[in-house]
C-alpha cells in the first residue's frame, strides 16, 4: 500500500510538472499584445511555471515515501503531500488563475487536469497519513 501511494504520487507529480507546459496558451502560440506591440505570456503560463515548482518537491515526497518505512517520516511526507496537493489546486483557481474564456485550452484542459491531479494527490496523501497514524509500528 505504501509503495502504491508513493508510486501514484510520483506519477502525479510528473503529470503536474509536465502537462501545463503543453496545455497553456503560450504553447498554442497565443500571447497578450500590449499597446506598444510587445507580447507577453498570459497568466496561465505563469500558473504552469509555478506548478513546475510544486511538482519537484512533490516528486521528492513520492520518491522518499518509496524509500522509508519509518512511521514518523511517512507521516511527515504524507502531510507535505496534502499541503502540496492543496497548492496544486489553488494555483489555477485563486492564486494565479487561468485565462477567462471557457474555450481556451488552459481553461478546458490545463485547469481541470491540475484540479483532478491535485485532488488525487490530496486523497492519496490522506490515505498515507491515516495509515501511518493508525500503525503502531513502522510500515511494511
Amino acid at each position: 500500500m505504501r509503495i502504491a501511494i508513493a508510486a501514484l504520487i510520483v506519477v502525479l507529480a510528473i503529470g503536474i510538472g509536465v502537462l501545463p507546459q503543453f496545455t497553456d496558451c503560450q504553447s498554442q502560440g497565443r500571447q497578450l499584445t500590449l499597446e506598444n506591440g510587445r507580447q507577453i505570456p498570459m497568466k496561465c503560463h505563469w500558473t504552469g511555471q509555478a506548478e513546475l515548482a510544486l511538482a519537484v518537491p512533490l516528486l521528492a515526497v513520492g520518491a522518499m515515501m518509496t524509500g522509508t518505512r519509518r512511521r514518523e517520516t511517512n507521516r511527515i511526507l504524507a502531510a507535505m503531500g496534502v499541503i502540496l496537493g492543496v497548492f496544486v489546486m489553488l494555483l489555477p483557481t485563486s492564486l494565479i488563475g487561468v485565462c477567462g474564456s471557457a474555450e481556451m485550452i488552459c481553461n478546458s484542459t490545463m485547469k481541470p487536469a491540475l484540479l483532478f491531479m491535485g485532488a488525487l494527490v490530496i486523497a492519496a496523501s490522506l490515505v498515507g497519513l491515516v495509515r501511518s497514524e493508525r500503525a503502531n509500528y513502522d510500515l511494511p
Binding site: G100, A102, E103, N107, S108, K111, P112, A113, L115
Partner: protein, 396 residues
C-alpha cells in the same frame, strides 16, 4: 473468527490478486459511470435547450433547418433571412396563439471591434417574445433597455473592461442558467439594440453588421390551448410558401440521431468492457482459489461448513468490488465534472452535469452493480472450491 474478518484477512494476505481485482473494478465502474453520466447529460441538455426555447413550432426559411439547429444547439453563428410579413401570416393561422420573430446574428471573427470571436447573437421582439422576456421579468423585474444584453451562463464581462460588439458597448444585465448547449455561449438582445448595433457598426467596425430591411430569421410559434400540433404545422406549411414549420418533438432531430448513434456505440463498448471484466475477475479468482485449496481444505477440516466457506469467499469478492467502486466512482465523477467542456468539444455532444440527486442515485446503483458483478464473477470458482472434500483439497 467472523466471516467479515476472515474475508478482510484473506484480502490483505493475497495482495496481488486483491490489487488486480480492485483495479479491474475501479476502471470498469469508473468507465461505466462516465458513459452513463455523459449519456444522461446529453439527453437532459437537449431537453433543457428545447424547453428554454419554449416554442411549439419554429418557422424558418425552407432548407435552413440544419443551420437553425446548429445556431440554437451549438451556438454556431448563422445568417438566415425571410420576409417579416411571414410572421404576420403565421400569426393569423387558426391555432396559433402568438408568433414572435427572432434574428440570428453573430459577432465578427478576429476583429478588434469585438471582444468575443464569432459569438451567436439572438435578437428578439420584446412585445411578442415568450422565451426570454418572461424569464427577464421574473428575474430582474423588467425587460432589456437599449444596449443591454442577457448572456448564456459562460458570457462574462472581463474585469475593468466592456463587451464590444461591432464597436458598440453592450451592458451584460444577467446570465441564463446553464443548458449545456451553445445557448450558454450566446447573447440575447432586443430588436432595437440589434438595429442600433447595425447602425453604429458602419462607422466603428471593420465590417458592418448587415440586417436586410423588413427581414427576420425565424418565427417562434406558441399554440393556443387545445390546438393540434400536426394540424397547425401543416396549415403553416400550406399557407406560407417557402418556409418549414419545425415541430418541437422534431426539433434537433438530426442532432438527436447523430448523437444517438455515437452514444449507442459507446454504450456497446461499455457493455463489452463489463463482460470482459466479469471474465477477468472470474479467472483471477479461479487461479487464486486453485492455489488456496489446501488452505480451504484446512478450514473445512477445522469445522467450517461448505456454506461458511462459500460465504466467506463471496464476501471477499464483494468487499473488493465495493472498495473498487468506492474509489472508481468518485474519481470518475470528479473527472467527468472537471473535463465536461473538453468532453463536449471533443465528442461534439451537448452535456449538462446531472443534478446532485441523480448523482446520488447513480452512485448507489454503481456500487450495487459493482458488488453484484464481482460476486457473480467469483461465484462459480468459489462454489466449486467450497464443494471439495477436505481430504482431497489438502492432498492436492
Amino acid at each position: 473468527m467472523t466471516l467479515t474478518r476472515l474475508a478482510l484477512n484473506n484480502i490483505s494476505a493475497s495482495a496481488f490478486r486483491s490489487w488486480v481485482i480492485f483495479l479491474c473494478v475501479l476502471v470498469v465502474a469508473g468507465f461505466s459511470l462516465t458513459i452513463t453520466v455523459i449519456t444522461r447529460g446529453a439527453e437532459s441538455s437537449l431537453e433543457l435547450a428545447s424547453r428554454r426555447l419554449g416554442a411549439d413550432i419554429i418557422v424558418v426559411p425552407q432548407g435552413t433547418e440544419a443551420a437553425m439547429e446548429g445556431a440554437l444547439l451549438m451556438g454556431l453563428p448563422t445568417r438566415i433571412w425571410m420576409p417579416r410579413d411571414i410572421v404576420t401570416q403565421v400569426a393569423a393561422i387558426p391555432g396559433v396563439e402568438v408568433a414572435s420573430p427572432q434574428m440570428y446574428l453573430s459577432t465578427l471573427s478576429g476583429a478588434s471591434c469585438c471582444s468575443v470571436d464569432e459569438m451567436f447573437l439572438l435578437a428578439y421582439e420584446p412585445e411578442t417574445d415568450f422565451t426570454i422576456q418572461p424569464w427577464l421579468i421574473s428575474t430582474i423585474g423588467r425587460g432589456l433597455n437599449l444596449g443591454e444584453v442577457v448572456g448564456g451562463t459562460y458570457v462574462f464581462t472581463p474585469e475593468g473592461e466592456n463587451i464590444f460588439i461591432y464597436g458598440y458597448i453592450v451592458t451584460l444585465i444577467a446570465n441564463l442558467e446553464p443548458t449545456g448547449s451553445g445557448l450558454d455561449q450566446s447573447m440575447f438582445m432586443t430588436f432595437d439594440s440589434a438595429y442600433d448595433v447595425a447602425r453604429i457598426s458602419y462607422s466603428r467596425a471593420e465590417e458592418p453588421l448587415e440586417i436586410p430591411p423588413d427581414s427576420v430569421s425565424a418565427a417562434m410559434v406558441r399554440l393556443s390551448p387545445g390546438a393540434d400540433l400536426d394540424q397547425v404545422a401543416d396549415a403553416i406549411t400550406r399557407a406560407v410558401p417557402g418556409v418549414t414549420a419545425v415541430k418541437s418533438p422534431d426539433l434537433f432531430l438530426s442532432y438527436r440521431q447523430q448523437t444517438g448513434s455515437l452514444l449507442r456505440g459507446i454504450t456497446l463498448v461499455m457493455a463489452l468492457t463489463w463482460v470482459m471484466a466479469i471474465v477477468a475477475v472470474g479467472l483471477v479468482f479461479s487461479i487464486a482459489l486453485n492455489e488456496r485449496r489446501r488452505e480451504i481444505g484446512m478450514l473445512r477440516a477445522l469445522g467450517a461448513t461448505r456454506s461458511f466457506v462459500l460465504r466467506s469467499l463471496l464476501a471477499e469478492a464483494g468487499a473488493l468490488g465495493l472498495l473498487g467502486a468506492l474509489v472508481g466512482i468518485p474519481v470518475a465523477l470528479l473527472g467527468t465534472f472537471l473535463f465536461r467542456n473538453l468532453l463536449m468539444s471533443s465528442l461534439e455532444v451537448l452535456f449538462l452535469f446531472p443534478s446532485v440527486t441523480s448523482i446520488l442515485v447513480l452512485f448507489i446503483v454503481g456500487l450495487v452493480l459493482a458488488v453484484a458483478t464481482v460476486t457473480l464473477a467469483a461465484f462459480i470458482p468459489a462454489y466449486r472450491v467450497s464443494r471439495l472434500d477436505p481430504a482431497t483439497a489438502m492432498r492436492d
